[in-house]
């Protein structure tokens, strides 16, 4: 992706915040390698996370597609960031 690395880092930070707060997990546990199972994130938690991201970034992220292939936090963030960045390009 050709976006500004600083902007990407900020975005990642913001997504991590949302995952931690909406998933009700300790912020320090949300590391790139942490698996979705190890964080105890269920489908209902993902719905809550995506809803909060929609309000924050004004972007619709379906549950299905790229998000389902994510195995860990890094994968989850990449999938979400892609939607956010795509939406920003449109604006």
């Amino acid at each position: 992706m050709a976006e500004d690395p600083q902007e990407k880092a900020k975005l990642v930070e913001e997504i991590v915040e949302v995952i931690a707060s909406e998933g009700m997990i300790d912020r320090t546990k949300v590391t790139p390698g942490a698996t979705i199972e190890s964080l105890g994130l269920k489908s209902v938690d993902i719905v809550m996370i995506l809803t909060a991201l929609e309000e924050k970034f004004n972007v619709y992220i379906p549950m299905d597609g790229a998000l389902q292939d994510a195995k860990n936090v890094e994968g989850l963030i990449d999938a979400i960031a892609e939607y956010v960045l795509k939406e920003r390009e449109k604006q």
Binding site: V44, V47, T51, M63, D64
Partner: protein, 414 residues
Amino acid sequence: MAASSGGVGERRVVISGMGTVSAAGVGTAALWTAARDGISQVRPLVTEYPYDGRIRIAAQVPDFDPAKYLEKALLTFCDPFTQFTLVAAEEAVAQAGFAREELSGPRVGVIVGSGIGGMTTIDNGLRHYYQERIRPDPFSVPRLIPSAAPTTLGMRYAANGPTFSVGSACSSASQAVGLAAQMIRFGLMDRALVGGAEACIVNGTIRAWEGLRVMTPDFCRPFSTGRNGMTLGEGAAVFVLETLESAQKRGHAPLCELAGYGTSSDAKDFVRPDLDGMTGAMEAALADAGLAPEAIDYLNAHGTATHANDITEAAAIGRVFGERAGRLPVSSTKPVHGHALGASAGLELALTIRALQEQIAPPTINFLDFDPRCPIDAVPNVARGVEIRTAMSNSFAFGGINAVLIVRALAGGA
């Protein structure tokens, strides 16, 4: 297992007529043509009030003018889901060759499933009351209750037998058809008008569905790579059920036999499908029909195009059909008519019956590429000629209620 002696639980049940209203319009011919030729009926969303959500597509019944089909006095009491039901029933009854009075009396039942009921009435009523500060329609209550569809239908034909609505979300129509078949088998009634109806493509509902993140913003692609959710649909499907003996006696050739019905509940999760639950319902339907899995020649899948449903359903098909699972033609017609919730299983049963009649498996459209996590033959994009004597239709609902129906061709009408 087949028996026609008329003993308790042994009466064979047939489908004598069917009718549909769907995104393809009024009539099963239009629905079948669209499904067979793979022409999606998903269009830009049309709402009465401006919609501020992100999902802007749906499979809506186009240009539906209820006054064309129904008396004005009756329309006052009919939410769109009831209108669709009444119009679908006209086609079904005509095809069954019944005059109105032949469906009257205490031995005729009416069972219609719906996920929600009169959602348009609810949405409008709340808008009027809370936002516009005007009184809701005085007949809001009789319009919005889920039982409005079966009771209004029953009034039309003066059917006094068992009449109620079945609510099991996306498997409602299958439950209605299956329950009615059992009640006829066991002698609780002789004839029935059954099916499912839904009309909830209104602002409040679409926004609620968006919240679950299971809606695709572009294309519904069941079992395919790149799938990202479902598209909402609406409509109704109504079937006329009677015993084989009754059809033979009046010289009517039924469309098919309703051979099996199986249902199960996952009792686990609000939205996540379950392999055991799905498998259990399919096996129960086979057991009810007295058939081995090898007897099934075509399967109309639930196939919503959500990540979780399609993988779980494909795994369940693998469990039930074993090594044959990869060769059995399995298609989802939802990209054509949308996911019509309480009506969906009815629309899909109608298409399953047409597949049986035409010996054609309709395709799963919008299919990009084979997903190894869904190892089935999804009849991608193009219809296929298949020898079909017996076919299965799956429907699986939020809340974990699974229902499966099996239909079988009747050789020479018997």
